[in-house]
Symmetry: C2
Subunit: 658 residues, 2 copies
């Protein structure tokens, strides 16, 4: 007899491709019925498309039909499935989306039978008071909408905007209980509803706890949590520990259904799961894949698929900066490749073009693109200038060959010359007007970077469904070390949330773990990064990034402390960095680096605001989808002063003191 | 005797420039004391800088000292003054800002005397539960923080993010009452606290109404509303009508203190004011200027400065699309020029460079920049290609002369040729790889636009404190009719929230109302817009924008209906457009235009996401500061389908129907 997980795969394949005839479906359903036990349910770990209400409803219908054929008790979809999450302000600007999602919900309800369908949608708030909508989950059964459960806790931080669009609903615990077959009662909560346990969290964002109320008042056999919860560094640890803790605390199993797939910046890893009443994991769906996942919570039946390598080992939260990126590399790789693939598909693109400099950033991007889109859909363009070393050119070519991507070389020396010759005359004219010229400017560096941008965008304009790629990384974006309309420019920015030290680790990891080993030339991993846009007059060689900035190991720790500990400059001066354990760093040097960091960071906010979309990977990011910052930040006081100093600045008025 | 408004100007001048000696200050205070009556207060219509806590505190101190010298009852600052609004997520990322604002508040408190200081700041929430902060107003007096009032209603829509950062506080009406001299009791509300009257608004966002509670429970002599409330189309009408209605309804005067100045996208017009118990306006500060504004609410003393021309006439809300932009033009002009000036100042820039095409967009931008920054700080660059007409070149030059801005001409033909020659070979190579070339591409158009972008950014790189300007307008941004790294690219985008028909009206208005009349050549206003990037094969002349898109009068009404009425495509098909009253438009033609609009708009979201900052002007905008949209929007269902059609799409499964 074939195993249940194989059958799930066959069903998923049929849903996607309609491979089976109706009689084959019927046969399979019969065969499977022996495996399906009383109380089995389907976790519909599915991938919606924002705003495509019809497409999402049609997809749900295919899953529903399979659940009906198999005669499971219920099929459970993620939060907001019908409108597609993230949906943002679309529902306010285009209320037709909400109207359509309600009609499609009613149409699906008409097609429902004795298998309950639990599905997230956007509900209109009929009241004269409050926001226009509720974030709700409907239970469809026997041709009707049997129940609507409204979300109580509305997150509104980082990437979440729930309270912006939705009215918080009362908990109403009785309404949250659905009867499944064989006298099982399940209590429904919606995503954040399950994230406010007072014993688990040090600080609670909300005054209510729907889980506690539902369990205390209704004693359900188990809880169902319909979620759309993203992956990011440290999140799996938190999620596992929290769900396990709550299940155990209340002696109540938890069925957690999560979305899979990516919006442009948010990535959902799936990994839907079931914890038993002791907090033990008894089933977990695959990560980064749609899955028709059959479990039986009360009989503790289910398959536990592995998490990406490394995550299991680190189910405690990382409290200090570490250069050991290993535990997060497979997840990082899967998150970015899924994001690229989905962004292209969901926007209707197929091919990518990027500049290959022979440096680390473009190299890592090329590998990720090849794996996400297929090597044949990636074009790497080497665009050497006079400064580009032969080694870099060779590395670019070698990488392209190893990956099997398309490759072209287009020297940009003549573009540089024609622009430069214009500038020579123009600048001297302007100087006579303004007389405020920089002694050392980045103009020459930037002409090169922008010439490359012009070539890549030209290719994208000329060839259908092709997007250029921005290759900037997180460390350099923090420092504003990226060229507007140059390497910062593109349709997507795969590594904008990956720091340099982690990129090195990722490159090594990919060389070791991809089917084709060592695609990245060793020299790329070994050489010290530099943009090859300018010559360092001190060394007479291309300027290295660390010469212009500071050591990456130090920089990445500053970023980590800003993002994870919200430390001020003063805090950082007082604490020892990992880098300081290895290298002697004078107080003056450290202070200079920190000052440089805060100064450059402050003036980089504008650049962040015009960055193309990019996947959130880290525990926190500068991604627009989660960080709402003004740009006029040139005078933020990052450093504390004493109260006495403040008082002394407020000079009294002697006339009035007397 | 000099009038009180003149003295206010002298005081403001002293605050800014410290012109007066201490004895002069003392003299002036004595002279003014005759004019100051019992119950006089100062509305501190001031302009903070986001994150510059020290700077804001030092500024507040100067105003405080003048209030003390004059012996008024109180000096009242806007909401969030100490941290500077907008502050966004800075307070979460850099909690040092909040710590500093609390220390500065305490330092200011120590310097307070018997003149009460009412000032907005960010308060820490000491509780284990809830968000980290409160949006609060402190009352400082006699060396202490006498009272803290916390905001109850936290807006979280459009440009507002209050609930993202702040815990909503109880109303606590007793705590909101401060005693001013002469037994006057004033009740404090914070901005949105005053915006939820159940009789005024058709729909109420919130369940509570602090104004009602404070008036019912405490019967204050008047209300003080500390605000940071932006200007946008139709907002003044709403604000005036609402404040007047509420004052009259409760027979309670309202003192409304508003911030002035601009963040990068949000513009505050000031126009702080006082309504008496009959809802009559008895004082209103200047618009778009900092002002030390002395009023006496109970004695009904104060000056009513005029609003920008046009606004007084239209104190009822516009319910239908209109091509009569006149009533909003002065406000539009003042909002944009203030925004430019402030963005440059607050980011540390002084000069602007922009491409002058001789077309409407760049022309209007040049005028606005000259007026905001001073003509000597603006450089217009004409960058003709082969397609550029002689007329356009002449118009650009003439405009520059009329404005007195710097002007240079740099033909880009050679840049185009060198790029184009590269592309010829490269594209044929790539075509053999992919075989998916567009038959008609925009590559040539875009090379021209991007060459211009490269020149402008080069100038900005070479000359200190100089920013390039993006000249895209709102109509064209909706249609994605703008070039990435070309006209869309820059450090600031002055007219990104102004539609084309309004831009024409604004150009005419500026020609009539600026000191120097008719700076804009008549031909610029008369000719039909076109980017002059491509030749229309049908006419053999440069392609006109309306040929590529649709008539601007129609397009602007579609945008208006989307933004103001949230209409779907179906709604618009059924309703008559203004354009249809003048021109015969077939149903097919209208449907084609609407389809084109929704299709092009959907694929333009990416472009909006990488637009530089720009001022919000219209009633709604696509500005990132107010519109949170996903990009993966290629399949939004903008058109309704019938329920029956939906049901028919959900094909039953005959095996199971039986």
């Amino acid at each position: 007899m074939i195993r249940i997980e194989e059958i799930c795969s066959i069903i998923k394949d049929d849903i996607d491709n309609n491979r089976l005839s109706l009689s084959e479906k019927s046969e399979l359903a019969k065969e499977l019925n022996g495996l399906i036990s009383e109380g089995s349910i389907v976790l519909a770990q599915a991938n919606p498309l924002s705003g495509d209400v019809k497409g999402n409803a049609m997809k749900a219908f295919e899953w529903m039909k399979w659940a009906q054929r198999l005669k499971v008790e219920a099929v459970i979809f993620p939060e907001m499935f019908l409108v597609g999450y993230p949906i943002g302000d679309f529902i306010d600007r285009y209320p037709v989306i909400v109207e359509e999602n309600i009609e499609w919900l009613n149409a699906l309800a008409q097609k429902s039978r004795n298998v309950k369908v639990v599905i997230g949608f956007v509900e209109k708030n009929p009241s004269k008071t409050g926001k226009n909508y509720y974030n709700s989950v409907a239970v469809l059964a026997n041709g009707k909408v049997e129940r609507i459960v409204r979300k109580n806790l509305l997150p509104n931080y980082a990437e979440f905007n729930d309270y912006r669009h939705f009215e918080p609903a009362d908990i109403d615990s009785e309404n949250r209980i659905i009867e499944l077959g064989f006298s099982q009662k399940a209590g429904i909560v919606v995503c954040e509803d399950g994230w406010n346990d007072e014993d688990f969290f040090e600080k609670n964002l909300y005054l209510t706890d729907p889980v506690k109320t539902v369990v205390d008042e209704q004693s359900p056999d188990y809880l169902i949590n319909c979620s759309s919860s993203i992956t990011r560094a440290k999140k799996e640890q938190l999620k596992h520990n929290m769900l396990s803790f709550v299940a155990k605390k209340y002696k109540t199993p938890i069925v957690y259904v999560n979305q899979v797939g990516s919006g442009e910046c948010l990535s959902f890893e799936g990994a839907s799961r079931v914890y038993d009443e002791n907090g033990e994991l008894i089933a977990r769906a695959k990560s980064y894949e749609e899955q028709f996942f059959i479990v039986n919570p009360m009989k503790k039946q289910g398959v536990v698929y592995p998490l990406p390598d490394g995550l299991e080992k680190t189910l405690t939260e990382q409290k200090a900066f570490s250069l050991d990126h290993e535990p997060d590399l497979e997840r990082t790789y899967l998150t970015i490749t899924q994001s690229i693939r989905e962004y292209f598909r969901k926007c209707g693109f197929k091919r990518a073009v990027l500049g290959l400099s022979g440096g680390l950033d473009s190299t890592v991007c090329a590998v990720l693109l090849a794996d996400a889109l297929g090597a044949e859909n990636v074009l790497g363009v080497s665009m050497p200038s006079r400064i580009t070393s032969l080694e870099s050119k060779n590395d670019a070519k070698k990488l392209a060959m190893n990956l099997g991507i398309k490759f072209r070389e287009i020297p940009i020396g003549d573009m540089f010359e024609v622009v430069r010759s214009k500038f020579d005359r123009l600048f001297s004219e302007i100087e006579s007007d303004w007389n405020v010229r920089y002694k050392e400017s980045f103009t020459n560096d930037n002409i090169q970077a922008r010439s490359r941008g012009m070539i890549l965008w030209g290719i994208a304009n000329e060839f259908q469904s092709c997007l250029p790629i921005a290759t900037s990384d997180k460390s350099e974006l923090y420092m504003g070390y990226a060229t507007i309309n140059g390497d910062m420019s593109g349709g997507y920015a795969p590594i904008a949330d990956v720091c340099k030290t982690k990129l090195f680790a990722l490159a090594k990891w990919m060389n070791k773990n991809r089917t084709k080993k060592n695609a990245i030339p060793q020299s790329v991993i070994e050489k010290r990064p530099g943009a090859e846009l300018a010559i360092n007059p001190k060394t007479n060689k291309p300027l290295l990034a660390e010469e212009a900035l500071m050591p990456y190991e130090f920089l990445d720790e500053v970023i980590w402390r800003v993002e994870n500990l919200q430390q001020s400059m003063g805090d950082m001066i007082d604490e020892e960095f990992l880098y300081e354990k290895r290298e002697v760093v004078s107080k003056e040097q450290k202070r200079e680096w920190l000052k440089k960091f805060f100064k450059r960071m402050s003036t980089s906010h504008y650049k962040w605001s015009i960055m193309p979309p990019s996947p959130i990977v880290d525990a926190r990011s500068i991604n627009k989808a989660e960080y709402r910052h003004p740009i006029i930040a040139s005078k933020i006081n990052y450093e504390k002063t004493s109260f006495e100093q403040k008082l002394s600045e407020l000079a009294d008025d002697p006339v009035f003191v007397s």
